[in-house]
Symmetry: C2
Subunit: 338 residues, 2 copies
């Protein structure tokens, strides 16, 4: 039985057979058509071959095939600002309408002013106040409906397209290719778990239960008709960044990934933890070095780093020293977006 | 295409087709052979039929089919003591060997004495100290290896069998039946998430990532060779009991179950939350009324309740009032164990 490229995009149908037939790849039916031939593409194909071929010394049974993907800057655009932060800033006027007392309180006052220079000077502490006010204090169903509504209408300023269309086609191919080979794909994001869950299934074919993200607590209560519901609380349960990524992966998945993909220092520990496992493990870092088709930032590009997606020289050096594969957006990808 | 009972026990192979062919059940091929005909069995069959038949007004797409199962007293024996508590008590001598200063400190002194009367008087606070000392402070891999080793050798006092063999055959049939019909099955347990993960795949065909349980934090660090590992910390992230069950389900799954099974007041909110969803929802409570084949306890049996698995009269009345189905172990089950 041959699994065609069309099948790859169905994922689950092919999954049932992947364990039996071995890796999905052949010269005539390239599973990664948006990738140029090179060490990055080869590393992915070799890894899958080595872990799903029954006779391989590093064969991994289907149930243990776990791959984790950072989202912002790894699966979709993170520049010049994380999509979720844009969402929170744009929600401020709505929140102030229900709580007018916030209009004259910082940082809400600055956000309402629309003064971009002033907004650029907001501190992390200010940002946390904004995230708290816009992401918590409402029922989970209401949050989901509001975020969905916003995502349906919001547009990226440069491409004039919905944010959910600004995913990287080569990475979507990797997700599909790994799923077709029996890998369960997870997002491990510093972003909000509930925010990413709103669109992950439609955008990445990754269901809500496979999103590991920064998570707050909820509280169980009843509406006036006695109907139970959950309220999002401003209580941090998991900060899914840096060391929080492997900790979150343990909490939500309970096993070490065999493959992990990231693009910043926030992914460092996830890649390190993945690589430290037995057998064949794949750790990859996406370098944004393509200012024409997307953005170029980070010391390894010779360009100044930005506030988001910190890909430091130290991280680049560590990747090279430890056998993590650096993906060059410019050289490794034929196309960036679908 | 017909899915036979043998297929049901494979689960995943059948799953891919379940959405297309509708419910798996026919007179000649009973998917629940250990159940007597009656309202409980009928409720399960009717619910599956109503939610997986494409033409049904309450049809649920495959990806949204989530079913959650309490463990202790619902999937396996909880009497006279939760298996995990037995584990923790039996680990005390090992812990004291590495920390001799605990030998003369309560509650460890009492546990070491082996005096059952004194142990029966330990408070919840004492118990938390024992859980903390035996479940935390070690690498996650070490905990997993130790718990696995214990489970391989420990035997229940009454049946002289491994605890993992004391699962209820009728409930294993329900798990298989629901999976064969495209339901993703989860355990939602007040027990330790990491403890249940050790044996859940082998015992219930439920992988570690589908265990929602009481969970503590971990911390990321390095051994003397620079190899990263996670340590189990005595920091409670989620108390997966009572209101904590729907809260844990939201954290780990991100959607409301369509079916939930429990046996005690600790499952009350999970059943209530499940039943409050739109469409057809199934909430079931197992009543332990079979002192011959297992145990009988709880007011609804006319027998005194026990310390574990509190099935109160109020819970029984609520179940009847709200359309939750009570399963009588004595009357609804042909067999209890495999």
């Amino acid at each position: 039985m041959e699994i065609t490229r069309r099948d790859l995009f169905k994922g689950s149908a092919a999954l049932a057979f992947a364990g039996a037939i071995g890796p999905v790849s052949s010269a005539s039916d390239d599973p990664l058509p948006s990738w140029n031939d090179g060490p990055a593409k080869k590393a992915i194909l070799d890894f899958v071959h080595a872990t799903v071929t029954q006779s391989s010394p590093t064969f991994v049974p289907v149930g243990r095939r776990v791959a984790t993907f950072d989202q912002d800057g790894t699966l979709w655009v993170e520049h010049p600002m994380y999509t979720q932060v844009v969402y929170c800033l744009e929600r401020v006027p709505v929140v102030v309408k229900t709580k007018p007392e916030l209009a004259n309180v910082e940082p809400f006052k600055t956000v309402l002013s629309g003064n971009r220079d002033a907004m650029a000077k907001l501190t992390m502490d200010d940002l946390f106040k904004i995230l708290g006010a816009t992401l918590t204090g409402m029922p989970v169903d209401q949050f989901e409906a509001e975020a969905k509504e916003w995502l349906d209408h919001a547009r990226d300023a440069r491409w004039k397209r919905p944010y959910t269309e600004l995913t990287y086609l080569p990475m979507i191919e990797v997700l599909n290719y790994m799923r077709a080979n029996g890998y369960k794909t997870y997002i491990a994001t510093g972003g909000g778990q509930d925010f990413v869950r709103v669109y992950s299934d439609k955008t990445y074919c990754i269901p809500p239960e496979q999103i590991v993200g920064t998570a707050g607590g909820t509280s169980y209560g009843y509406d006036k008709n006695g109907k139970p519901f959950l309220t999002k609380e401003p209580k941090l349960l998991l900060n899914d960044n840096n060391a929080g990524k492997p900790e979150g992966i343990h909490l939500m998945i309970g096993r070490r990934p065999f493959a992990a993909f990231g693009n910043s220092t926030g992914d460092r520990q996830m890649l390190e933890y993945t690589k430290a496992g037995d057998g064949d493990r794949l750790a990859m870092l996406l370098l944004h070095d393509d200012g024409n088709r997307e953005y170029a930032y980070g010391p390894a590009t010779g360009l100044p780093d930005t506030k988001v997606g910190t890909f430091t020289q130290a991280l680049y050096d560590e990747a090279k020293a430890k056998g993590w594969i650096v993906i060059s957006m410019k050289n490794d990808w034929k196309r960036v977006f679908a």
